[in-house]
Symmetry: C2
Amino acid sequence: LSHLSPSSRPPTLQWIGSIDGHLQILDQRKLPTITELVTIQNTEELWNAIKTLAVRGAPAIGVAAAYGMVLAARTVPPSSQSNILIDVLETTADYLKSARPTAVNLAWAVDRMLSVAIAQRAVGVRQLQQRLLQEAQSIQAQDTAMCLAIGRHGAPFIKPNARILTHCNAGALATSDHGTALATLYEAQRQGIPFQVYADETRPLLQGARLTAWELAASNIDVTLICDNMAGMVMREKQISLVIVGADRIAANGDTANKIGTYSVALLARAHNIPFLVAAPTSTFDLTLKDGSQIPIEERPGSEITNSPGPSNECLAPPGIKTYNPAFDITPASLITAIVTDQGVISPVTEPAIRALIHPPAKQNP
Amino acid sequence: LSHLSPSSRPPTLQWIGSIDGHLQILDQRKLPTITELVTIQNTEELWNAIKTLAVRGAPAIGVAAAYGMVLAARTVPPSSQSNILIDVLETTADYLKSARPTAVNLAWAVDRMLSVAIAQRAVGVRQLQQRLLQEAQSIQAQDTAMCLAIGRHGAPFIKPNARILTHCNAGALATSDHGTALATLYEAQRQGIPFQVYADETRPLLQGARLTAWELAASNIDVTLICDNMAGMVMREKQISLVIVGADRIAANGDTANKIGTYSVALLARAHNIPFLVAAPTSTFDLTLKDGSQIPIEERPGSEITNSPGPSNECLAPPGIKTYNPAFDITPASLITAIVTDQGVISPVTEPAIRALIHPPAKQNP
C-alpha cells in the first residue's frame, strides 16, 4: 500500500516478482481522490477486488482473473499430483466467475488458464505453476499489444495542437494499460504531438471525472473537465478538432453502442463538422447484429440519477421522482467518421469495410 | 413553518394578512427533499433569505424585496413624521440591494417602492404603510400577469399528447408564481391538454432536478428526470415533440443566452426536427446588443463541477483538476423556432419581428 503523486500513474494491474510474488492493482474505488495500490495475495482478495470494482473494465478484469488462477495454483504443494491442481483451478474458475457473472472476458480468461493447465498437466505441479504465470502474463501482453495497436492506428488522426473531446472512460484504467480510445492519446503524446483534451464528466456515474480526467492528468496530458451539457458550447468556443470515444458493442453496419451521451456528442460533432472517431478492439464487433436496433440497451436504477455517485450517496432530486436511466445509446454509423481498431482503420464506416477487416474471431481475449 | 406533501405546491412567496401580517416564502434551500414554508417578519430575515437563496430567480427576488420595504415601513410608529419613514426606506433600500448586488429586479423593485413613498409622503405614516403594501402586491400582480400572458401565448404550441423536453428552471419557483417557460405547461394543464415532460437535470447545479422536476411533480404534471447527456437519445427514443426553455438575455437579432447546455439542446432538437421554443418576458430583450456575441458569459468556479451540489459538497473529481465552467451559452436565433413573450409570439425569429413586438420599456418589473 503506497500513496502516489497524481503525476505518476501506476499501471492498472501488475504481477510483482516471481511465482511467490503478488498481484498489485490500482484501487479504482478510491479514485480520483486517493491513489492507492493494493496487494492481492490470494483468490479471496481478488474476488473481492473484482466484486467491489477495485478493478473494472472488461479487458482489465480478464487479466486480473488470469492472475487469480495463478494465485490459486500456487497454494498447491509442489509434491502434489497434477490432478489436485486441476481440481483447485476448476473450483477457482467457478468462484472467480461468480464475482461478475456477465463479464465475458473474465470467463474467457479463467477458462483459457484452465485449459492450459489441463493440456500441460504431465509436467507436474511446480512446472505448471510457472507455466500458468507465463500464460497470465501472455494474456496481459496480448491486451497491452491490442491497446498499443489501437494507439498506433489512431494517432495519425491527432494533428499538432489538436483539441480533442472525449466521453466516458475508454482508458488505461479499463485495460491492463494504455486503454482503447485513450491509447491514441498516449501514443500521440509518446510521439511528441502537442494536444489538449476536454473530458465530459459523463453522468450519472461520472466516469469522465473520476477516471478519464484522473488518468490523463496523472499521465501529464493537458485535460479540462467539463459537464456533459457543455460539449456543444466547447466545440464552438474552444474549436474542438476531434472527438474520440470507445465502444461497448458495434453492429455489422457500424452502428455503435457506447456510454449514454455518446449519440448526443456525435450529433453535436456533426453540427460543427468535427470528425468523430470510435476506437475499440475488433472483439467489440458483433457481426451477428445487423444494425444498432438489435443491440439491447440496459436500463439502470434511477437512484444513479437522483443520488450522488460519491460516498455520501446524498439525494439531490425530489424523493420518488420518475426517472429514465439508459446506460448506453446507439450512435448510427452515418455519424462516425472512422472506427479505429487494433487491426486497422475502417473509414468510411460501411458493412463491407467492416467485414473486410474483421476476420473470424481467433483465440484472443474477447 | 409547515411540512407539505409534494402534490400540493405552495406559492413561491405570498403576503399573509394585513399590514401586520408577514411574508411567507417557500424555502428553496431545502428543496427538493423538504418542502418548508418560512415566515419572514423583518428585513433582516428577508436579507438572509435573499442572500442564502431561500428565494431566487430575478422576478421572485424583485417581489420579495418590495415586501421587504413594507416590513421596514411598518416598524415606524404611526405617530411619526413621514420623513422618518422615508429615511428608514432609504436605508432599507441600500441594505436589501446589498443582498444580491447584481440583481436588477431587486434594485428596480425597492426603488419603485421608495419613489411611491416619496411621492405620497403627504398622506402620513399610517396611510403610507398601507399604500406600500398595495404597491408591493401590485408588483406581484404584474409579475403574475406577465407569467400568465406567457402561458396563454405559449400553450397553443402544446398539442395533445405532446412530449416536451425542458432544461434548467424557468418555472414558478423563479417568479412569484407560474414561471416563464413553465407557465406554458401550467396553462396547457389548466386547459386539460394531456402531455408529458422530460426534465434535463442541468449540471452543474442541478436546477432541473432540484427545482423543475420538483415543481412539475408537485403540480401533478407527468415529469421524468434525465441526465443532460440523455437528451439526444430521449428525443429519438421517446419521440420528443417540443422543446421549451427560458432565457436570461435575448439580443436584438434573437440570439439567446440561457443556462449552459441550452445550445446543445437546440442543436439536438434541430437534428431531430423538433420545434425549439424560448419563452421569456419582454424585459429579457436587450435591443442594445446586436447579436449573441455581445452577451458576456459568466464563468463560475470549477468547484461547482468537481464537488457535489448537495449538502455534503463531497469532491467527485481529481483534486486540482482543470475545469471550464461557463454558466450560460448562446443559442443562435437560427435554431429557435419561436420566442414566446408576455406580449405575443415572435416567429420566425428575426430582428424586424422582435423590434415590432418589443416597445420601449414601460415602467414594469424588468
